[in-house]
């Protein structure tokens, strides 16, 4: 239960808004972080905390694409397929992924490690093709870079190939990380 585990955090979030309902997205994120998706139990609990009806929470979950009603793979690979990325090879990136993971958009590998989705513009149009894996952006992806990313993720759960604070054209000298 969220309320017992994150009492202080929930209080802190609620204190930011004059109306409790505003906390619905932050609390849904909290629930998704906890379970990997938004469960019915979590929606009912959030409704209770915010004094809403469960459908009022459910209708929010179904509106926003980043909230999942079902469990997905450990790594959610989201490939931008909008025009700007498509111009520089997002379809090729999807083919590379298919060749390596054996799955296409909307599918999860049998070991539940990877789920692939196609998504619309992620605001990295100058650095396509690109994908977001869970919270991290990976940009200007080449075939070699993709191999590195997938190997890193499988081995370490993260990859140093992810993007740092964005700047394009890149400043002189190496990319600085905060």
């Amino acid at each position: 239960m969220l309320k017992e585990k994150y009492k202080a955090e929930i209080e802190d979030i609620l204190s930011r808004y004059p109306v409790r309902r505003s906390a619905v997205l932050p609390l849904l994120y909290m629930a998704q972080q906890e379970e990997g998706y938004v469960s019915e139990t979590a929606m009912k609990e959030i409704a209770g905390i915010l004094r809403l009806t469960p459908p009022q929470v459910y209708e929010v979950v179904t509106f926003y694409t980043m909230l999942h009603l079902k469990p997905i793979g450990k790594f959610h690979v989201q490939v931008c397929k909008s025009l700007m990325c498509a111009l520089v090879g997002s379809d090729t990136l999807l083919a590379w992924l298919k060749a390596r993971l054996g799955i296409g958009p909307g599918e999860t590998t049998p070991d539940k490690l990877f789920t692939i989705s196609t998504v619309e513009c992620l605001a990295s149009c100058g650095t396509g093709p690109m994908m977001q894996v869970n919270d991290d952006y990976y940009e200007s992806i080449t075939e070699t870079k993709l191999d590195g990313i997938l190997a890193d993720l499988t081995r370490d759960g993260t990859s140093s190939l992810k993007s740092g604070p964005f700047m394009l054209p890149e400043p002189a000298g190496s990319q600085c990380k905060m």
């Binding site: 309902r21 980043m66 700007m84 498509a86 111009l87 964005f166 394009l168 400043p171």
Partner: protein, 436 residues
């Protein structure tokens, strides 16, 4: 290549600049806030912004000071400011850079705006995918709170302003200001019917201003250097200041280029962005994000300011300039954008919800070699029944790719349909009966 003085991207070009509070202060940060807070009357700040000619950088280009002026005078209850960091317009990636590289510049801008319009609580609505950006902003806000720039009794001058980061969760429409407010209220992000406008009935039904990240980031500089300085940059009187143009597509050097408004598309693409990536010539340009009608190479000398781009039949929009080379199918390009709009239609208005689905189906049919002679008429009819018939500007935006590619590259559509007609009899043959 002509060199221009950068305003918004200046700090981040300092070698080793991390965007921390110390770095920002060293670069002159928070001087504008110190100069203004408690020393310049709020109404005078609004006047300065009006005189500067600053217009919204999110897409619509509404004069910022005028927008502030719509808030009811002498209103005693709570008012709100929302910083729109929901950057989702395909082709646009400037706010992301401003957020991740120089977050305090935005925070100082928000504080100045809040002071000018008497707001005590501001929300920074950032698109959900910008996890890194939200972390950087949270960290910067914590630094600013500790230093006394955000929170109670700022700098001991009696003003209290709080700023909270609020993450969206993947919905393009939440960049529309009233949808943003709905989302922030914990609802589905459906645009509201206007009027009433947010200035009187906004967040929680209270007077509210929504400003884009880049718009707010300009404020510290306007306060530091004056309205006249800003007003003289670019293409006065209607398009003052710089714009950060985000160049993507088939160019050698894609990226964010901050230049004074009024330079030509030719200069932006061929000098700043390094020209075409290969020897294939230029075929098409989208000058202001996915919602802006396409341009052809004949438009290369159009000046990049609000009026010139509008006069040429498109819009400056969010500053996302996408370049396409010869060999790119315009029907395919329009379909890709149409798929985006279909995916992102919020579903509130029937013409947009149903129309976008029909448009995608018709476009797919044409691309897949199943196009019919009547399809072009169908496309136009559908577009005409969407534009201007929806609650928000999304309806006008979604028809732009199809209408403009039909205008300039109609033959590409016709060729596909003619090819389909040639193969039609084969496709229409009845499948052989299965034998049991």
């Amino acid at each position: 290549m002509p060199k221009y003085e950068k305003i918004l991207l200046k700090n981040m070009e300092i070698p080793g600049y991390t965007g921390s509070l110390a770095d920002y202060e060293r670069a002159g940060g928070y001087q504008a806030l110190r100069k203004v807070l408690g020393k310049v009357p709020p109404a005078e700040v609004t006047d300065t912004v009006k005189k500067s000619g600053l217009r919204g950088r999110g897409g619509a280009g509404f004069p910022t000071g005028v927008k502030w002026g719509f808030l009811p005078k002498d209103y005693q209850g709570p008012k709100y400011l929302c910083c729109n960091a929901d950057e989702s317009e395909p082709g646009t990636f400037k706010d992301r850079q401003l957020i991740e590289r120089d977050p305090h510049q935005i925070i100082e801008g928000i504080l100045i705006a809040c002071y000018a319009i008497g707001v005590k609580t501001a929300y920074l609505y950032i698109r959900g995918e910008f996890v890194l950006g939200a972390q950087i902003l949270d960290r910067a806000l914590a630094e600013a709170r500790t230093a006394g720039y955000v929170g109670r009794d700022i700098l001991g001058m009696g003003s209290s302003i709080d700023i909270w980061v609020h993450r969206g969760a993947g919905a393009y429409i939440c960049g529309e200001e009233t949808a943003l407010l709905e989302s922030l209220e914990g609802k589905r992000g459906l645009p509201r019917v206007k009027p009433p406008f947010p200035a009187t009935h906004g967040l929680y039904n209270k007077p509210t201003v929504v400003n884009n990240v880049e718009t707010l980031a300009n404020l510290p500089h306007i306060m530091n250097r004056g309205a006249e300085w800003f007003a003289a940059i670019g293409s006065p009187p209607k398009s003052s200041g710089t714009r950060i143009f985000c160049v993507s597509g088939h160019v050698k050097r894609p990226g964010n280029f901050e230049v004074p408004m009024g330079i030509t598309l030719r200069e932006l693409i061929f000098e700043h962005a390094g020209g075409m990536r290969s020897d294939k010539p230029l075929k098409a340009i989208i000058p202001g994000g996915a919602s802006a009608p396409f341009f052809t190479p004949e438009h290369l000398d159009v000046k990049l300011d609000f009026e010139s781009v509008a006069q040429a039949g498109s819009m400056l929009g969010s500053g996302g300039v996408t370049v396409m080379e010869e060999g790119t199918s315009m029907v395919w390009a329009a379909l890709r954008l149409m798929e985006f709009f279909y995916h992102e239609s919020c579903g509130k208005c029937t013409p947009c919800r149903e129309g976008s689905s029909w448009l995608v189906q018709t476009m797919r049919r044409i691309i897949d070699g199943r196009g019919r002679k009547s399809d072009l008429e169908t496309l136009v009819e559908l577009c005409q029944n969407i534009a201007g018939r929806t609650v928000c500007a999304f309806g006008d935006a979604e028809v732009a790719p199809i209408m403009s590619t039909l205008k300039y590259w109609r033959h590409e559509y016709e060729e596909l349909i003619q090819q389909a007609a040639a193969t039609e009899p084969v496709k229409l043959m009845m499948p052989a009966m299965a034998k049991h």
